[in-house]
């Protein structure tokens, strides 16, 4: 290094000790400032859990102008629990999404007016999801609500009867008008005695769809307008059903704050379980972020009943529906057709790769939502972990199966720790018994 200002350079004998001295100081400082192994581990842990201390509230839903309207939520709450919105008068949303069971039903597959093929997920925290249901065939919380109400095996109700019920019931009508103002039908309430609903994609035409087609377009439009508000009220209500903080969230905060007492909110086994989840099994390649989901779709290669390819098309069946759904974020009844969500819907690809893909479920409250997977095939978390550990029976779907999945070969302790960790994700506060 040239030092132009120094007139005389120190001779070699002076420079060597100087350099040595410098190197010595460097190593001293380096040694002194190097953290111990334990400190390194703690710093790594802090970094890995920091995310959970930054969990925000439920994001604004611009596709539903009434998402945060209390009156709309109040109407939604009434409807959520009202079994009259079903063809046999016995099934409400709460039949399957039972508040006493963390808004699930505990059944392998859902049973409503008929028996379905999918397991009932919780609605706790659903407002945080980009796509609703296992295959994501609804892209907003409110549009999802239109599905079960009119699906044959769920509530088997219909659009005309739903509008009529709200219109004819004084309590429901008052709640509706408090939120949305006068019902814009201008028609006498008993006029539409006939049940009618639009034909769902992939469903067979029936009397109800024929009756819908027979309505004059202006009446269909009026029905759709009211029905869209009914489901938006269900969206507003379900927004209030968030997944509340878990013991793991408290632990994360304590770790970041270096609060030794607080860090005891997890047992040693639970805390080790996070390391297994995050570093060993790398479950958060898919179960990532504060909600433990990437919000997207994967095929785990779960075998069909006879060990062959499963019948459920999963994501592949959902995309065509989303593209034409008037209730999607990009559809006629959305209040944000130019938003991010609508852009995604328009950009969805219908690749063959999407066949059989299911949405990565959130793992919050997972201890309370057995049985597991889209078809409820696993009765316990032990069974789920056993699958991930060995991938036994998994179908090799060539490039279709996620290349990230490989047998883990965990020890018995690691499996127990992992399960203990998963159970620490249940919210601490009791779930609102609304």
């Amino acid at each position: 290094m040239m030092l132009p200002s120094s007139p005389k350079r120190p001779n070699l004998f002076l420079r060597i000790p100087l350099v040595l001295c410098g190197v010595g100081i460097f190593f001293l400082i380096a040694q002194y400032s190097r953290p111990s192994e334990e400190q390194v581990a703690h710093m790594r842990l802090q970094k890995s859990v920091k995310l959970f201390t930054e969990r925000k509230g439920v994001a604004v839903d611009r596709t539903n102008r009434w998402a945060q309207d209390e009156n709309a939520a109040a109407l939604g709450e009434l409807i959520f629990h009202d079994a009259r919105f079903s063809s046999n008068g016995e099934v409400s949303c709460a039949t399957c999404h039972d508040p006493a069971r963390a808004f699930t039903d505990g059944a392998k597959v859902a049973v409503g007016v008929g028996t379905g093929t999918r397991n009932t997920p919780t609605v706790l925290g659903a407002a945080r999801q980009r796509w609703q249901t296992w295959d994501g065939r609804a892209d907003t919380l409110w549009s999802q609500a239109a599905e079960p109400m009119e699906a044959g095996v769920e509530m088997n109700f219909d659009r005309v009867s739903a509008v009529q019920l709200v219109r004819n019931d004084p309590t429901l009508l008052a709640a509706y008008e408090a939120a949305f103002g006068e019902m814009p039908l201008g028609l006498p309430p008993v006029e539409f005695a006939e049940r009618a609903r639009p034909l769902r994609l992939d469903a067979a035409a029936d009397d109800l769809s024929a009756a819908w087609d027979a309505l004059v377009p202006s009446r269909r439009e009026a029905m759709d307008a009211v029905f869209s508000r009914i489901v938006k009220s269900l969206g507003a209500f379900q927004r209030t059903l968030d997944a509340k903080p878990s013991r793991f969230d408290h632990y994360a905060k304590a770790i970041v704050d270096r609060d030794i007492e607080g860090a005891k909110s997890l047992s040693e086994s639970e805390a080790r379980g996070w390391i297994v989840f995050h570093e060993v099994a790398k479950c958060d390649q898919c179960h990532s972020g504060t909600e433990f989901t990437d919000g997207e779709f994967h095929n785990l290669g779960l075998p069909g009943a006879d060990g062959r390819l499963p019948d459920d098309r999963g994501r592949h069946g959902a995309i065509p529906k989303l593209k034409v759904d008037p209730f999607s974020s990009a559809g006629l009844f959305s209040d944000d057709v130019d938003g991010k969500q609508a852009t995604l819907v328009r950009g969805l690809k219908s690749d063959p790769e999407t066949w059989g893909q299911m949405r990565t479920p959130s793992l919050r409250n997972v201890g309370r939502t057995a049985p597991y997977m889209h078809d409820g095939r696993f009765a316990s978390l032990e069974d789920v972990i056993q699958f991930y550990d060995t991938l036994e029976g998994a179908i090799a779907l060539d490039h279709h199966r996620e290349a990230v999945l490989r047998p883990l070969g965990l020890s018995a302790t690691q499996k127990a720790d992992l399960i203990a960790f998963l159970r620490s994700l249940d919210s601490v506060e009791p779930i609102a018994a609304k």
Binding site: I29, Q285, E296, T343, L344, R346, L348, K349
Partner: protein, 137 residues
Amino acid sequence: MNRCIHLFFCLVAMQCLVACGGSSSIDTSWETAKSADGTYQVAWRVVGGLIPRADPFDVEIRILDAQGKPADVECTIDAEMPEHGHGMNVVAEMQRRGTGDFLAKGMLLHMPGRWSIMIDATHGAVTERAQFLYLMP
């Protein structure tokens, strides 16, 4: 004395590097590369500066021709994970804002790992690709 000062600055610099390594998203202000046959200079950056994990984002793209002028081309963008054998679940919506000036809306990289981002410039029947690697932490 000078050496001590040097040492001090070295340590400070190292400290800064370590601190930077800790951030989970990488600033990708205008990445540039030549297209495969060297015809175009392709530059892109993320609106907002950062690629969020598993959340939608938009990308600005500028394409220059061999003379360094905005290229009169059509543009598409896609991303895939070479090791996983899959790509994005969506196609970005491409808006042309001017000659060689594009906005891709609705990109979504949903998994950690190596992503290959491919920007294609098409003039007539000829398409040239510029490729970028991005490591999602």
